[in-house]
């Protein structure tokens, strides 16, 4: 579904991604782990071109994303993204947050978008918040809305950048629950997270990134039970105590 070839990205002299090759298949749940500053966010943000790669190509569903002539808005419409800090639009109600993009991109009429919003809100148990503003919601509620907002575009792929890292511990579960349901529903997902339990349970493949490289990858049981790379062993011993 996504083919990454030779992807490099530097900020000034700082080489953050170093010749990454990856292929993500439809229905896969790829979990990216690694120490802070290893380039996980940058990798994710290159996939939907929030960061412009310095070198390499990314192909999504046969369309070359990195081609300067590519219609990046069209491509992004099919890739949802969920951010660490939710990034809900504070000037709009929850319903408007959800329906803005589908309506403005002419994916749906306002009525269709409203129906979609209602259905999705019901799925995450936040129906009664439709007319609230983001400031009135808890962190966990905001993140569930952010997921719903991305889903309203009916994306083929969802990118998550540490979706639970900014949450109070008691709210992490409700967000992971929504993500698990999404995974069970067959969505293709790329998730950067420090929630090793989630990686183990939901991931179909785990990538361990360090210093701009994918140092090790494999099935969760292999990564967590039989880590090969010393850096990965060290990382896991830190995060799993």
């Amino acid at each position: 579904m996504i083919d990454v070839k030779n992807l490099s990205k530097s900020f000034g002299d700082n080489l953050v991604l170093d010749h990454i090759d990856q292929h993500i298949y439809p229905g896969e749940k790829v979990v990216v782990i690694g120490p802070s500053g290893s380039g996980k966010s940058t990798f994710l943000r290159c996939l939907n071109l929030l960061e412009i790669p310095t070198a390499g190509t990314i192909t999504f569903d046969g369309v070359e994303v990195t081609d300067p002539k590519a219609d990046i808005d069209k491509i992004r419409q099919q890739m949802g993204m969920v951010f660490q800090h939710f990034n809900l639009f504070p000037n709009m109600t929850i319903r408007k947050n959800i329906t803005l993009a589908p309506v403005q991109t002419k994916l749906m009429s306002q009525a269709e978008a409203d129906d979609t919003a209602t259905t999705l809100l019901k799925r995450v148990g936040l129906t009664e918040k439709a007319d609230a503003y983001p400031a009135q919601l808890s962190g966990g509620q905001k993140q569930r809305i952010a997921i719903v907002r991305a889903l309203a575009m009916k994306p083929k792929l969802m990118l998550f950048d540490e979706p639970t890292s900014a949450l109070d511990p008691e709210m992490v579960g409700e967000v992971l629950e929504v993500m698990k349901e999404l995974a069970v529903g067959g969505m293709t997902m790329v998730v950067v997270t420090h929630e090793m339990g989630f990686a183990r349970e939901v991931g179909s493949r785990v990538l361990f990134m360090d210093e701009g490289h994918v140092m090790e990858e494999g099935k969760p049981e292999d990564i967590f039970s039989r880590p090969q790379n010393p850096r990965l062993q060290e990382f896991l011993s830190k995060v799993l105590h």
Binding site: R76, M81, H85, F89, P90, M92, Y133, R149
Partner: protein, 256 residues
């Protein structure tokens, strides 16, 4: 007995030095505002003041938006991919903002009126132009600050949903930036309204111009000037009230 007759009577008393303080107050008030229908001149002055403010505001906002857009676009360029032409325009914008903010308004008005447009007879227009150019520099900095203060995650969230740059600006960035800068913009508007009084030094015919004409006739400075001050104060209070109403409406989304 009509007002005019009372005035004549008490003025005689005053000239003889026999008038009480409130009789003198009436005489001077009458001279400043009622004699020869002078109130019409104040009214005309207020009209010009408001018109000059409105035109200067429009010019200032247009200039401010353009300059803010140039400077923001320039600063948001990726390092190593700088556009030369944009660099030149950005430099001009920077010089403009620096010169305007670095020199007194009064000096700018005098230079515009007596040097650059020395041959023009349309003093009010020249004054308006100066005010607009001056205001543009301040508005540009206000807008730039507003755009810079906004979390870049807002733009990213909009774009990641597949909205294009303009739609993201229109629905997400600009409404939030506008709300953030409204107090500063209102403040700038009030400053502009009061600064219109300065264009009278090059013959711009706003409120203070007429007030000074009247004081030259009646040889009484207090009533025309204090009266004008009251008029400015009332105008400012009205606009402050309107601004407060608008801000309260925009704050709707902050309710918790």
């Amino acid at each position: 007995m009509g007002l005019a007759q009372t005035y004549e009577l008490w003025r005689e008393l005053m000239l003889q030095g026999d008038a009480s303080w409130w009789q003198e107050f009436f005489v001077r008030f009458y001279q400043a505002f009622l004699e020869n229908n002078r109130w019409q001149q104040y009214l005309e002055g207020v009209g010009t003041t408001l018109l000059v403010t409105a035109m200067a505001l429009i010019l200032g906002v247009v200039l401010g938006v353009v300059v803010a857009m140039v400077r923001t676009a320039h600063d948001q360029q990726r390092p190593g991919q700088r556009n030369f032409l944009l660099g030149v325009i950005n430099f001009i914008c920077k010089v403009y903002v620096t010169v305007i903010r670095g020199t007194p308004m009064m000096v700018q008005i005098l230079i515009m009126g007596l040097v650059i447009f020395a041959s023009s007879r349309n003093f009010t227009m020249v004054g308006t132009l100066t005010l607009g150019i001056n205001s543009g520099a301040y508005v540009a900095e206000i807008i730039r600050g507003g755009l810079m203060s906004l979390d870049p995650g807002q733009m990213e969230a909009g774009r990641s949903l597949g909205l294009n740059y303009l739609d993201t600006m229109r629905f997400i960035v600009i409404p939030q930036a506008f709300k953030a800068i409204l107090p500063a913009l209102g403040n700038e508007f009030i400053i502009l309204l009061k600064d219109t009084s300065m264009i009278s030094v090059i013959g711009g015919q706003e409120l203070i111009y007429f007030a000074r004409n009247i004081l030259n006739r009646t040889f009484d400075a207090m009533f025309p000037l204090v009266g004008s001050a009251c008029i400015y104060l009332v105008l400012v209070l009205i606009f402050t009230w309107l601004q407060g109403k608008l801000e309260r409406r925009l704050r709707q989304s902050d309710r918790r």
